[in-house]
Amino acid sequence: MSGVNIQGLSIKFGHNEVIKNLDLQVIEGEFLVLLGPSGCGKSTLLHSIAGLIDVSAGRIHIGGQDMTDAEPAARGIGMVFQSYALYPTMTVEKNMSFGLRVAGTPKAEIARRVAKAAEMLQLNALLDRKPAQLSGGQRQRVAIGRALVREAGVFLFDEPLSNLDAKLRAELRRELKLLHQTLGSTMVYVTHDQVEAMTLASRIVVMKSGVIQQIGTPAEVYERPVNLFVAGFLGAPAINLVPATVGADGQSLDGPLPLRLAAGRVAPGQRLVLGVRPEHVRLQADGRWRATVQLVEPMGNHQVVWMTLGEQGFSALVHDGRRIAAGEELAFDVDEPLLSVFDAASEQRLPVS
């Protein structure tokens, strides 16, 4: 088990700077998820930790040792890829033991480690099969097994579940979390799927255009996003973003949601964006505001109500089975303490409450 320490990392492809002067500490034993839209540099960052991409500047320490220029195999890492990347001509057993055979590990030790990993991942019955004879879920299990037998200090996952169908993805997600609980190893996991990030992570790193936007526990990132990008990226249905202008008294707000903020935090005339999570919108008869229902999506255990608030789209979660019709005008209220307030110009979170 070992941590990863990245300092001042820059990666350029030609003139295109994909990672910009990035610092990141991966704490020993944590499950760190790198989250962001495609092209944000999260995979590049992971590959640079693995040593598969040359860095332009900065240092990478793994387990306390400077590994910036070390060969991938020397870094004490195991890696799982999106496309599984199993060796097609080798059996499951050979796939898992390839790295150990390269390293010249004694046969008995190889057998022990492969058996252990196969046991953990329920691969015992498949050891003699070729990858082509396996299902997608089994293939990804083998790929995880191949990383496990290295008994590395850090495991790197590059969108490992993206190629699986929804049901398998949920299943393997739980298995991965269990695996982390059992092994307690350091894991760095890249995904663009916020559900994976929320469910798996000890900490989430949200990235955009090669720059880290926010690092925090899933709850912190979800509840207190530092800027509009993070607020909008996490959560489904997405957070409601409502424009507002601060009134002359520096407290009352002008806009579709005319609230009052605590005194002294915002300047009169300042333009804001209010972030309201759909689950913090309460549809109740004594609500202070009204919105018109446009569409209702029943989800079984809850309903998503899509409304219009003035010109603005606005969604709410309803956790009971009440009947709501399109076109209906509903009263609602919001949980003010759970609101996020952003400055419209800088898009940064404002500490108002």
Binding site: F81, Y87, P88, R146
Partner: protein, 288 residues
């Protein structure tokens, strides 16, 4: 709808088959004439009925072509040429394929600095007619002391095969998932280990396609064999030419036909046996 379409489809099908049959007849007729003539005696050939089946089929011409036909002064048939061709073909098939695979692997997976540039030059080389290079190559090989020898002709075949072999394997390997290579790097595989244990075993379809191309190319070669192999190593094609052009007395059509068929037997067999693989090789490139 189905009824309306039926006659039109039938006519179209009929047209296609008629055309295919004509094409097949056009290409097979010479082969038919060669085969029947080779089994006839000279007396029968003189009757001038080239499309007739042999009245009294005989293997005499085949025997003579293989072991008695005269090339210039010696009269030992073309069997010597056959073994010369084998001796030239085996290294000229194995070496270019292995080197081409290695080149393709290095270019597409390791992406060395200047690799694309080198590959470009190699491709330009492929478009220069070989006749242009023969004289400089003769001088070069003479300087190296391998002109007119087995290594000399093998080297020439190797050099001329490099562009197409490299292109073939480079494109095949470029189509393999890059993550495979990365996984092997993480597992600690080096340049040679990844090539031998991972890449070569995955290359079977391309190896077969490349082998077919090289066998037919090298076996059918005439000009390079004539120029670089030397008297001792003349390939079958060169000997065939000598047999046919040696005119002392009457022209032995049956012997010439038999000798020609014997010479072309190897590439012909390769196609017949490997046709299935040939298609599989091409298809394997298309679907994962």
């Amino acid at each position: 709808m189905a009824r309306k379409r039926k006659p039109a489809a039938l006519w179209a099908r009929l047209g296609i088959y008629t055309f295919l049959l004509c094409a097949a007849a056009f290409f097979l007729l010479p082969l038919y004439v060669m085969l029947t003539t080779s089994f006839k005696s000279m007396d029968e050939i003189r009757l001038g009925q080239i499309f007739a089946l042999p009245a009294a089929p005989t293997l005499d011409a085949w025997r003579a072509a293989w072991s008695e036909a005269c090339t210039g002064v010696s009269c030992e048939g073309i069997r010597g040429g056959f073994w010369n061709s084998v001796a030239i073909a085996v290294p000229s098939i194995v070496l270019p394929i292995l080197l081409g695979a290695l080149n393709g692997y290095a270019l597409s997976w390791w992406k060395p600095k200047g690799g694309e540039w080198l590959f470009g030059i190699l491709m330009v080389g492929a478009f220069i007619p070989i006749q242009v290079m023969i004289y400089p190559l003769v001088k070069l090989e003479a300087a190296l002391g391998i002109y007119s020898s087995l290594p000399g002709i093998v080297l020439v075949h190797l050099v001329f095969a490099m562009p197409i072999m490299t292109l073939l394997f480079r494109n095949y390997y470029a189509g393999l998932p890059a993550e495979l290579f990365k996984a092997a790097r993480v597992d600690g595989g080096g340049f040679w280990r990844i090539f031998i244990q991972l890449v070569l075993p995955m290359s079977t379809p391309m190896l077969i396609v490349a082998a077919i191309m090289q066998i037919t190319g090298v076996w059918n070669d005439y000009i390079l064999g004539l120029t670089f192999a030397g008297r001792e190593n003349q390939p079958m094609t060169v000997q065939l030419n000598n047999v046919i052009n040696t005119t002392t007395g009457e022209r032995l059509y049956n012997l010439n036909m038999a000798a020609t068929i014997l010479t072309s037997a190897v590439p012909l067999l390769v196609y017949l046996i490997s046709g299935r693989w040939f298609v599989r090789g091409i298809a394997a490139g298309a679907v994962k």
